[in-house]
């Protein structure tokens, strides 16, 4: 009995925990990502409560936050300002890196690259598993830093020096920052291992007939994303390495004669701007690392559910390439106000605005894809539509902020918060949700509940606009971001009501995401079972695998590819899978140019 138990436990461990199967690793990334998304969202609710209702009693949070809620003589509980900053910092770090980078790329690159190019697994399944476990350890480290007596790092997710370089600068700058650095270093290792694997797999493991110009746009997006990641994450690592030297070895890369705690520091000649350059050299490509996979997913989902070929396939690929290239030469638009030379700013303004061109190409192609189609409204396709909506709304405000002159007024206000949350936060989440609803059957052999899915979509769409749309307004009025309390500013007094509205909307959106999480886990065990191999009628290879594919994906031979991925509504056929040979008079739309 006990031997059988041991064997079954060890089998469970090798199947679900220490697995090398890319499909299981994808699910590990997804579920870990959902955990972090929940954590990050819960933090945002706590600081939104502070912003919306600064006078309210927060004593009821004491069981969770303990000493970070200070109870005064009257028995009113107040959020510790130091911890407020820590919450903002952790919210940013977690959402940007752990959820929208690892949770999005990690999940869908792992799941779809081998399945859609016709490979049995990644080029190196072992490194792939390491990639997940480094991410896991990074998460554990970051999670533990929440329990430090001095709190986690609180200097903002960008970790600018001197707050990040001088351990004595603030509560979170000591042990909290040390653990932040350790976690981020492991995260970079994870991202590099994953990225190298994705690139190699796409280049070398495609099945017979799968030319580059026959790949679905998902694969193009993941491939380019991985290249951006492999080129930009090492720069963050070198920036952080110099930070480590400044913190521990007494060097002055980022520090100069600062006064900390009433004493002049023994440092000479460093510049915090250097860190900003290094950080944003990663930081700007990072936003495309987040949004490009979502764009790939949305292209695929829209085409499948519009039952039409994606409009302008090659233009889509070239616009991804253009965005990827431009993403490396616009980083200083995050630094217009740091004293960079205005002439250099011009250069960055121009390239920033040029990014609008390939972005607009993509938007017009998505709209043309769905234009005149017999659109199938599923949770997945609704979220894909929502992505396009968010991307347009957020993209337009990017044009405001990309102008260095306008940025003088807007920078570090809620306008910036509204812009990036819509364009890379909510939009990327919508892409991720579209992907989850679309490929959930492939991951778990069951469907998610469509009714709950549609409630989730409409609630989140409306709720997200309710949260972020008013922020543009208070941002233009000059309300600065990251402030603990606006009570001391008379000019912001009339925004009290608006801030309460935003907070209430944020709580609404938060509960809708809990609905999604319930739907997700319920459907894993009790969702409607998948009975056919290809429920959406898609052309791509992942739907030619068995309903519950084992390690290796295809039981017999790997299928060969005969045509591009977007033969929908062609002739009399509603769709023609990629494995069907070309007819006599047909030409291939991907390669046949």
């Amino acid at each position: 009995m006990s031997i059988i138990m041991t064997i079954s436990i060890s089998q469970t461990l090798t199947t679900y925990i220490f697995t090398l199967d890319h499909k299981v690793i994808a699910r590990q990334f997804l579920i870990t990502g959902i955990f972090w998304a929940f954590m990050g969202a819960a933090m945002s609710i706590i600081f939104r409560l502070q912003l919306g209702f600064p006078e309210a009693d927060m004593g009821w949070l004491r069981p969770i936050l303990g000493k970070w809620i200070m109870v005064d003589a009257a028995g009113i509980g107040k959020l510790d300002p130091e911890f407020y900053y820590a919450l903002v910092t952790m919210h940013g770090t977690i959402l940007v890196f752990f959820v929208l980078t690892a949770g999005l790329s990690g999940t869908f690159s792992n799941l779809l690259i081998p399945l859609q190019i016709g490979a049995r697994d990644m080029a190196s399944p072992l490194l792939n598993a390491f990639s997940y476990w480094f991410f896991f350890l990074a998460g554990v480290t970051m999670f533990l830093s929440l329990f430090l007596s001095t709190g986690p790092f609180s200097g903002g997710w960008t970790a600018y020096p001197p707050l990040s370089a001088v351990p004595a600068a603030s509560d979170g700058s000591g042990a909290g920052m040390t653990m932040w650095i350790i976690a981020m270093a492991m995260f970079v290792v994870s991202a590099l291992l994953g990225g190298i694997n994705y690139i190699t797999t796409v280049l070398n493991m495609r099945t017979k007939g799968m030319g580059l110009w026959r790949m679905p746009l998902t694969i193009w997006a993941f491939f380019i994303t991985a290249i951006i990641g492999v080129l930009s994450f090492p720069v963050l690592l070198s920036g952080v390495l110099l930070l480590v030297f400044d913190r521990g070895m007494g060097t002055s890369f980022y520090l100069n004669e600062l006064v900390v705690g009433g004493q002049i520091m023994d440092r000479v000649g460093g510049s915090p701007i250097l860190y900003q350059h290094l950080f944003w050299f990663l930081g700007h490509p990072e936003v495309y690392i987040i949004i490009l996979p979502a764009m790939g997913i949305v292209s695929e989902v829209l085409s499948v559910h519009a039952r039409k070929p994606i409009f302008g396939y090659r233009a889509m690929v070239f616009s991804i390439l253009a965005i990827a290239f431009l993403s490396f030469i616009v980083w200083a638009h995050h630094m217009f106000m740091s004293g960079v030379n205005p002439f250099i700013s011009n250069f960055f303004v121009i390239f920033t605005l040029i990014i609008a061109v390939p972005s607009a190409v993509k938007v017009f192609n998505w709209i043309s894809t769905i234009y005149g189609s017999n659109f199938r409204f599923t949770s997945a396709s609704l979220f894909a539509l929502g992505f396009v909506s968010m991307f347009i709304s957020g993209g337009l405000t990017g044009i405001h902020l990309g102008n260095s002159a306008i940025d003088i007024q807007m920078h570090d206000t809620y306008f910036v918060v509204a812009h990036f949350h819509i364009v890379m936060g909510v939009a990327a989440f919508f892409g991720m949700f579209a992907g989850i609803y679309q490929w959930f059957p492939k991951m778990f052999g069951r469907f998610m509940n469509e009714t709950l899915g549609k409630i989730h979509f409409w609630g989140t769409l409306v709720g997200a606009y309710m949260v972020f749309w008013p922020m543009h307004y208070i941002g233009i009025a000059g309300v600065p971001r990251r402030y603990y309390s606006l009570d001391n500013f008379d000019s912001f007094k009339h925004f009290v009501g608006l801030n309460q509205f935003i907070t209430v909307a944020a709580i609404l959106v938060f509960f809708l995401q809990i609905l999604f999480i319930i739907n997700f886990f319920y459907s894993i065990f009790a969702g409607r079972k998948m009975t056919v191999k290809n429920p959406w009628g898609a052309t791509t290879l992942e739907w030619t695998t068995p309903i519950n594919p084992g390690h290796g994906n295809w039981p017999g031979k790997i299928p060969t590819v005969q045509r591009w991925a977007y033969d929908y509504s062609k002739g009399d056929e509603e769709f023609i899978p990629q494995i069907v040979p070309l007819g006599k008079d047909e030409h291939d739309h991907g390669e046949g140019h």
Binding site: I196, S238, G239, G250, T251, G270
Partner: protein, 173 residues
């Protein structure tokens, strides 16, 4: 093959970082690089030459030559690391310490990071030596590919140092 591509891509990444790091620097403290860094370059270049001929010998099936040249490469590599350390102590003795100015800090950090990559290369060479001494000598395609990857990496870190040195010298001009 994938390791080859992977490491080249990854190296390119750190390359870029080093490049960007050096661009943004003000308030510069001038000093002369210790001569030992230049002698050391010759040692590292020599190690690439020995490794190259070791690889040629391996392909031609000349076992003893392959082993001895491989051993020579590892010794030269280790010598390089030791002499780099001597170079750093000389820099410190000249007054260009780690903390005095970013100009010297950069040299310590960048050359230190490079030395860490050399140590990684020595690790790979050590594995190659274990193969050479404990596996039966058979220049199969698989063995050749493995060895080739080590050779590529070693040439890469060698060239990286040449680039860094030229770069440091150009900065001082």
């Amino acid at each position: 093959m994938w390791i080859g591509i992977g490491s080249i891509v990854m190296m390119f990444g750190s390359f870029t970082s080093a490049y960007v790091v050096r661009r943004a620097a003000g308030n510069w403290y001038e000093f002369k690089l210790p001569d030992i860094f230049f002698y050391n370059t010759l040692i590292l270049l020599l190690s690439s030459v020995t490794l190259h001929f070791s690889y040629q010998a391996f392909k031609k099936g000349m076992e003893s030559r392959y082993k001895s040249l491989l051993l020579a490469t590892v010794i030269l590599g280790l010598t390089f690391v030791v002499l780099q350390y001597v170079g750093w102590t000389e820099m410190t003795a000249m007054g260009a310490t780690l903390t005095i100015n970013p100009s010297s800090s950069f040299i310590y950090v960048i050359s230190g990071l490079h030395a860490a990559h050399i140590l990684g290369g020595i690790g790979a060479l050590t594995v190659a030596m274990v193969h050479a001494w404990y596996l039966p000598f058979k220049p199969t395609a698989r063995r050749r590919q493995r060895f080739e990857l080590v050779v590529q990496y070693w040439h890469f870190v060698d060239l990286l140092w040449v680039y860094l040195l030229i770069f440091f010298v150009m900065q001082a001009l």
